[in-house]
Every structure is written in C-alpha cells, then in structure tokens.
C-alpha cells in the first residue's frame, strides 16, 4: 500500500465503523475503536460489552471483518488487539458446556 493511499483507506474504515458497526454492536453495550490500517490490515480494539465477551471472535471474524472486506475489498484482514482479559462487563461470559 502506498503512503498516499493509507489515510483514505483508514478514513473509509473509520466511516464504516462509525455509521454501521458501532451502531450495531452498541446493541450489546459494545463499541469498536480503529487503531490503525497498515498494509491493508485493519487493527482495532473492542470495548464495552465486546471486551472479554465469549462471542467477540464471532462478531469480529464473521461480522465486522466480513462487512469491512465486502465494503472495502482492498482490506485483507481485520485484527483484534483487545486485551480481553481486562473486560469487566462482557455481554456473554464463557463457560464449559
């Protein structure tokens, strides 16, 4: 990715997070913050109800990443940098079933 293209891609990802993703995950008290876009890889953190949630990986890989890659095809991967062990109010708490 060229340096000139990076701000534009980051802005488009941020717009998607602001207009579609965060309004959706807010339904479980969650939110997503964009950390950076490097080499067409999106780095983000998950907070609120998403942090430490048992379903966070599903939300990220089958929801957020899928949506971002569909809307912005040059994105190759979305990576979660959240420390989920520090979540204090996860929407779903895992247990052995």
């Amino acid at each position: 990715m060229s340096e000139a293209a990076a701000p534009d891609l980051k802005t488009r990802v941020q717009d998607l997070i602001d207009t579609m993703i965060n309004p959706a995950v807010a339904g479980h008290g969650g939110f997503v913050e964009l950390i950076d876009v490097q080499d067409n890889r999106v780095y983000l953190t998950m907070g609120g109800g998403c942090q430490g949630c048992g379903a966070a990986d599903v939300t990220l890989k089958a929801g957020i990443e899928r949506l971002i890659k569909e809307e912005i095809p040059e994105v190759v991967e979305v990576l979660d940098t959240t420390d989920h062990s520090q979540g204090t109010n996860p929407y779903y708490t895992a247990g052995k079933s």
């Binding site: 579609m20 993703i21 959706a24 995950v25 807010a26 339904g27 479980h28 969650g30 430490g52 048992g54 379903a55 966070a56 990986d57 599903v58 939300t59 890989k61 089958a62 929801g63 957020i64 899928r66 949506l67 569909e70 062990s85 979540g87 204090t88 109010n89 996860p90 779903y92 708490t93 895992a94 247990g95 052995k96 079933s97």
Partner: protein, 412 residues
Amino acid sequence: MGGSARLLLLLPTRTYRTEDFVEAARTLGVDLVCASEKPSTMEALAPGSLLTLDFADPDGAAASVAEWSTERPLAAVVGVDDVTAAAAAAIADRLGLRASAPAAVAAARDKFQMRQCLAAAGVSVPRFRKISLAENPVLAARGVEFPCVLKPLTLSASRGVIRANTTEQFVVAFKRIAALLARDDVTVTGDAARSLLAEAYVPGLEVALEGLLIDGGLHVLALFDKPDPLEGPFFEETIYVTPSRLPETVQRAIHDTTTAACTALGLTQGPIHAELRVNDDGPWVLEVAARSIGGLCSRTLRFGTGMTLEEIILRHALGWSIATLERERPAAGVMMVPIPRAGVLRGVRGVDEAKATRHIEDVVISAHVGQDVVPLPDGWQYLGFIFARADTPTAVEDALRIAHARLQFTID
C-alpha cells in the same frame, strides 16, 4: 487448498471454544459462517456469515440451514459442544455432509440412553437406573446400592454430579439436582428436565480419551491422566496430563473399550471425548461424548509440526487431508482452575508469578473481575486455565500445582 470452501460452525454464545475454532478456520482459509442460539449484533449486516439457530431443536435447525444454504452451499458443519453436536449431526444428515448419524449423537448426549446402548453391547458401564424427579427420593433410594453417583441426564463438565453413600445423602443430592435443573441458566428439556441417573460408584483411576473417528475407525489423539482423586462428593475436574502414565496394556484396553463404545453407539465420524474409570476389573465407560474436549483444554494438544486439535477437526469435517494425527513428543497438561467458593470475583493476583513457573506455557484467567462465580456442583465455569509443557508428565503435573499455588483469588 481452501479459499472457497464454506464451513458452518455452531458456536453457543457462552462456549469457551469459540476463539480456538475461529482461529483454526482462519488458518485454513475457509469461508466461515457462524451460528449461535442468539442473534449476533452484526447479523443484519453480515447475513452471509452469521446465523441464528435453535440448537435445542436439531431438526428445526437443519431445516433452517437447508433453506439458507440453497444459495450458499456448505462444505462442512461442525458443532463444538454436546448441544451443538446434535444440531450439527442433523444439519449434516440433511445436507449430506460428513458427520455421525443424528441418532448416534443423540444417544451419546443422553447418559441414560448411552448406558442402555453400551450395556446391551457388553461394554462395561456402572449399574444404572433412571429416576423420575417426581418420585419420592426416600423410596427411590431403596432401589439403588451404595455408594452411588447421581447425575443429570445431559449436563456436562461434572455439573450436578454428586456421590451419595447413604439414603440421607441420596435425598440431599436428589433435591440438589432437581433444583439445579430448574435454574434459569440450565436449558435442558424433555426427559432430561424430569429425570436423573443413579449409578454405582466405580472406584479407580479416571482418564479422558480424546479421539477422532474417521469412517468408523477410532484414532486416539491423546489419553489424559487425571491425577487428582475423583472420589466425591463432587467430581471437580482439575488436572489433565498427557501422555498417560498407565501401563501400555491398560492404555490398549482403554482404547479397545472406547472403540467398542463408539461402535455400540453408532458413532462413525468426528471428534469424541470419552471419560473412563480403570480398576482391577478393567476400563469402565462413564461417558462418550460426540465432541472434542471442553474449556480451553485443547490448547495442550499439538500435532505434527504444530497443528491444533481444532484444525484437525475442521479438516476432517471438510474431507481434507490430515498430515498426521501424532501428538507432539513433550508431555503436556492443563489445570482447570476451580472456583473455591461462591461469590463475586473481586481480584486476581499472582498471574505473573504463575506464568514464571518453570514449564508453564500460559495462564489464562477466563473469569472477569465483578463476575458472579459458582462452584460445582451447581456451577459450570472455571476461574481460568493453566497450561504446562515439559519432558515428562510428572514435571507437567508439578508445574501446574506450583503455578496454581501462586494464584490468589479474592472472592466475596
């Protein structure tokens, strides 16, 4: 290989297994679709990769997936626990995908059905009896021999499993299981909500066998010793260590008995997790579940040059080649950190010290500060998991105990 193969994972919202299965799917490069029993917040925005299914209704789930998949063909479906294994089997049966027959998975899910099936096939199981919760427990106790073990028909992870040595203890355990099955967070239905199983207590060592069935043949992936005595009154699982330190002849008998159990149940494809007791009379089957090991315990296992258990399971479901089913050479183990008492988790200390213990690979605290924690037999969670790897099983076990002793939990 990969790319366009579409894989459906059935992931309950509260399972520990999500991260490892999703990571395996990412590693394999499959087109991942996730289904849960409750809607994802992202489902409306990603309808091609997120589904909501009623796992308690396998046939209904199969019908929903059949309709959904007409425009999105699936290459495989995988359930990650007892409940989703039944739904996965029904979906696979409907779509012609690789899995054991739904009836076999259902029989493995119900401890009474399983024991009937195994006993009829001559597989050693404890003497057992199903008892209606509507019965008078004092009268019901007259029909069992002591010591016995009472347990729900379908719960897992030793939840609700209680030993009784006397009629008085039997009555207390009976009432406790009835109360447990009435809890809001227990979603059993039908016979499983109205009955319990009473069976003879089998003394002996307990082991867990992790296996993969391929076209009816059982491949043992790992045999775990459980070095902590499991004598009751509750049966809290703590340490698992592999390879087993039991003599080769005993391990062979465990393999053969588990194979016979799978054959009797009709299980032919996919992961199995079996629990057995071993004493002078040989191996006794306590459980054969049509799923892989629970919690985060699979992180102890690596195969070949580093393949995870979840990758093996997904590869098998997809019909892809698996380079090897041979576990790596070092001994490995996990400690499921038990909840010492009920309350609210206020703090955890000593994690860095525990991680610094020789042979300790990782310490994962899965409970969060502020969480209500409930010990067995009513609870279903752990405070966390400790992982160790070393040259010998003894070194692994020692490391797990030392690391655990360095953790301090404040619960009030």
